[in-house]
């Protein structure tokens, strides 16, 4: 009974201090990154309400290759102009944010989960398990990520969820390497040794002592991977092995714009690229900040 009474205020105090810490972190985060990322996430979620037109169908009454509204021939019905099928660029950009964010976040999640799991397994179990995992990691790292991704995408066939799996399968290697290194030092720590002596199972040691300690590193890596994955998705879509048409993906829009680039229809090329650069810039800023915050050892990198 006594323990229950003892624990309650403590737990409440802990929850409150955690909340305070989260609020403090939110204030300290780089504002530019938070505004851009938050804005794009909201746009992606509420795309159905914000987008003025259907992104996959031509706008009624609009022509093809209409310029943005401030140029002669442009109208405010299609503020950023129309593409080769007469579809609204702005609406396609808005829905494109959804594709980029889903692929970026889910691809990173897949890569991070595979890589963290294999890294822990490799570092903690050691022996031949470690050897096998690390040799496979080396082999997969030997190919430039984008070449490997293009190769897999070409073999598996295009769809948004295939791309998520493929990018996860390509980018897990760096997590495995870094997490393994960290686990190797964690394994030698006193509290891990003591837990083992106390009879804790391997699974319990991993769950209670190893995993919580590598989460910071995994989070930092993840924040820096999102942008890389987003660019990779755009690259695959651009080459025609990524998100298939008529889905509105930014990379696909750039690919469709290529044929009319020579005619000087710049808005088809400039806007989707700016969107990609903006979202990746925001994730980079956020990742840099997170790295300094969560991992003091990496501050000089």
């Amino acid at each position: 009974m006594a323990t229950v009474i003892m624990h309650r205020p403590l737990a409440r105090g802990r929850a409150a201090s955690r909340l305070r810490a989260v609020l403090k972190a939110a204030r300290e985060a780089p504002q530019l990154a938070v505004v851009i990322l938050g804005g794009l996430i909201l746009i992606a979620i509420f795309a159905d309400f914000i987008a003025p037109h259907d992104p996959t169908l031509p706008v009624k009454g609009a022509g093809v290759f209409d310029p943005p509204f401030w140029m002669p021939g442009g109208t405010t019905t299609t503020p950023l102009g129309t593409d080769f099928q007469g579809r609204d660029i702005l609406s396609r950009l808005i829905y494109g944010a959804r594709v980029s964010l889903i692929v970026g976040l889910m691809g990173t999640l897949v890569a991070g989960s595979i890589g963290t799991a294999l890294g822990i397994l490799s570092g903690y179990v050691g022996g031949w398990v470690d050897q096998i995992i690390m040799r496979v990691t080396d082999a997969w790292l030997a190919l430039p990520a984008i070449v490997f991704a293009i190769f897999l995408a070409a073999m598996v066939g295009p769809s948004m969820w295939n791309i998520v799996i493929i990018l996860g399968a390509v980018y897990w290697t760096r997590y495995a390497r870094v997490i393994r290194g960290e686990v190797l030092t964690l394994r030698e720590r006193e509290y891990v040794k003591l837990a083992e002596i106390a009879g804790a199972s391997k699974w319990r040691v991993i769950k209670r002592h190893i995993l919580p300690n590598v989460m910071n590193t995994a989070t930092v890596l993840a924040s820096l991977t999102v942008g890389v994955v987003i660019i990779a998705e755009a690259s695959l879509s651009f080459l025609g092995v990524g998100v298939p048409p008529p889905q509105p993906a930014w990379g696909l829009m750039l690919s469709e714009a290529r044929s009319t680039l020579m005619a000087g229809q710049w808005w088809l090329t400039v806007f989707p690229g700016l969107c990609i650069a903006l979202i990746v810039l925001a994730t980079q800023l956020f990742g840099d900040w997170l790295r300094v915050r969560l991992d003091p050892q990496q501050r000089n990198l």
Partner: protein, 306 residues
């Protein structure tokens, strides 16, 4: 030293085997290449005939062993589409990729090294902030989009440079800039941190105490030592750029190995795709081996720790 080289080389060979097996299996797991190659109306007998003709009726292990045997002889199989040996096609295109990779490496050094040095010498100044912005943009702006914008500005609007193909130096400028852009940022970051480390070391302090002017300290003493890792990375990056330039080569219709891979993918030419991808792995495993051995020569501690 000899032991270190042998062990390191064995690791590389194991890595190469795992990589080739992975690629080999992915190609065969993900679909029947013969069905992709033949017309949709082909009869089963026709498919069997094609299979036999290309040796695809044999079991996978047999196919893999044959493939590796040929690979060691420098034969990467025969392209479905061109009806030519893959190695012949590959080495026809390789010089173009090397040219582009070299030009992109030069550009990444020309942007990254001076900017990195200035930002390290004048740390936390206005210059340092400019360099940080360049580094950030290098990572954020996709190279292939930069390529498209360059075409728009310099070919369509200003009409200074040709949009595509290979020829004289004017054909190389834009693809090299688009390809080297991302790597310039990594050069900048590395030069900056390497210079900062050297500038904080004892012998630089001594040089300053002797009363040497700043220019001499930076140019004669710091520069030389700080640039060893930078040039190493430049070498590795060049090999990566030679192999990873697929999109840039497609955009600028540059006749290199990246475009060969792209063509292979769209013509469902799987021996070609397999060959180009394995060669990429081979080159990168090779350069990493060379760099590790060179470093072991320079720094004896490395030989002992591994």
């Amino acid at each position: 030293m000899g032991q270190f080289i042998v062990r390191r080389a064995l690791y590389s060979i194991v890595t190469l085997f795992i990589l080739s097996a992975t690629i080999f299996l992915v190609v065969r797991f993900t679909g029947d290449p013969v069905a992709l190659m033949a017309e949709a109306s082909a009869r089963p007998e026709d498919l069997d005939r094609i299979r036999q003709q290309w040796g695809l009726d044999r079991s996978w292990p047999v196919q893999y062993v044959t493939f590796m045997q040929n690979a060691f002889k420098g034969e990467l199989g025969k392209s479905f589409n061109y009806r030519l040996p893959v190695s012949e096609l590959y080495f026809q295109r390789l010089p173009n990729s090397l040219t582009l990779g070299l030009a992109a490496t030069l550009i990444s050094l020309l942007i990254g090294v001076p900017a990195g040095i200035i930002s390290a010498v004048k740390v936390n100044s206005w210059w340092d902030n400019v360099a940080k912005v360049i580094a950030l943009l290098g990572l954020s702006i996709p190279g292939f989009w930069l390529g498209l914008v360059l075409i728009l500005v310099f070919s369509v609007w200003l009409r200074w440079l040709p949009t595509s193909g290979a020829g004289d130096w004017r054909h190389v400028v834009m693809p090299a800039l688009a390809l080297g852009w991302y790597f310039a940022a990594s050069m900048l970051r590395l030069t900056r941190s390497s210079m900062l480390e050297v500038l904080g070391s004892e012998y630089i302090k001594l040089a300053r105490l002797k009363g040497l002017p700043d220019v001499v300290v930076v140019a004669m003493h710091a520069f030389k030592n700080a640039l060893i890792p930078v040039f190493t990375l430049a070498g590795v990056n060049m090999v990566v750029m030679v192999n990873a330039a697929v999109i840039i080569e497609v955009i600028f219709a540059w006749p290199g190995i990246g475009r060969l891979l792209y063509e292979g993918i769209f013509q469902r030419d799987f021996p070609l795709v397999q060959g180009v991808v394995i060669m990429a792995g081979f080159m990168i495993i090779g350069i990493n081996l060379v760099v590790d051995i060179l470093y072991a020569f320079i720094d004896p501690r490395i030989r002992l720790t591994r």
